[in-house]
Amino acid sequence: MKINKMLSTAAALASTVTVFASVFALPAFADEDAELVINGEIEIVTKTAAPAHLDGHLSEIMSGWRFRSDDTQAMEMDDFDNPGMLGAEAGFDQFETVMGSEGKSCMDCHDGVESLANVRPTYPKWNDDKEQVYTIQMQINDCLTEQMGADAQKYDSGMMLNFEAALASVSRGMPMNVAIDGPAQSTWEQGKEMYYTRYGQLDLSCANCHEQNYGNMIRADHLSQGQTNGFPTYRLKNAKLNGAHSRFKGCIRDTRAETFNAGSPEFVALELYVASRGNGLSVEGPSVRN
């Protein structure tokens, strides 16, 4: 269902977006042909060919940005309008703040957040020393506790998401590229298994909504493909940054199942698998969603 609406893609380059509003009072569907350019300079790939491992499942992968209404889409086109950037700014400050008993900040080991631009596109990633797949937040906690002598932070806590938002913001435009072979493969298989497993009283798997029914409505919401390239995500409904694991938890809860916890091995595996489904899409975080 498409409404009679034109979104000038050229105008996306300017700060304003011209919308010729529909005369019909239909729900505000996204213009699925719009292109995302942030600050008029960072071109974001929001639609591309699916990675090889999705053969037979999906032919094209799309960022959740494409499924949102024009107003929500426009908020992400300019850093000033994107409330998620407040979290990223806080993340930059945290990066320079001395924490813990060692008197160190992140800057003592790293040469600024910008030097870590390859992190967001490649995580979750196999960690040789720990012999398991590591998410960004697990890695940050290792830095905090082992290098800086600081307390570990709770998974998907405000501080963690600020760090993640800062890391994502410097990687915007880079393609998601998580490794699924080598030592990470068994974790990836576990995540894939979960993705196609039906959970809860409603007996729904991730694929039932996000692979077989994306683009359709689920009650008042427009189902996306459930890609993670936009995380952490600023949601208008709770006015804060949200992590991928919290989103997973919300989804499984909605199937009326007992959920896993944020940071659990199950969700780490699922995050790796879902991230691999988005290989090729640009990193977009901190993104704006409803």
């Binding site: 409330p83 006015a239 804060k240």
Partner: protein, 109 residues
């Protein structure tokens, strides 16, 4: 007492005389409504930005009263006519008595 409050403003660096420009403002603030209770059942006291003003060379451009139930990080966008070069002054007034200020110069091109 609100912490981490930081005002931000976006104003074009220059405009032609008489041009209408768009000004965007954002202040990071929790905007606690005073209607919520904490886990012990006690009311969380109201703490909001209750007034916002913008002046251009001493002349009022906009004077806004903000009420509870406005979302976190209030964002205000408005248009202003620029008759001459000068300075926009922005002021936010907090319930706790704090006043946050920001100023931006604009030139005539």
């Amino acid at each position: 007492m609100a912490s981490g409050v930081k005002p931000r403003v976006k104003v074009p660096k220059s405009a032609s005389a008489g041009e209408v420009i768009t000004i965007k403002t954002l202040i990071s603030h929790p905007m606690e409504s005073g209607q919520r209770k904490d886990s012990d059942g006690n009311v969380i006291p109201r703490s909001i930005i209750n007034r916002f003003t913008c002046e251009f060379n001493g002349e009022s451009v906009v004077d806004v009263t903000l009420e509870p139930s406005i979302s976190t990080n209030p964002y205000l966008e408005f248009d202003a006519t620029v008759p001459e070069a000068g300075e926009f002054k922005f002021t936010w007034y907090d319930d706790d008595g704090s006043v946050y200020e920001e100023a931006k110069e604009i030139a005539i091109a």
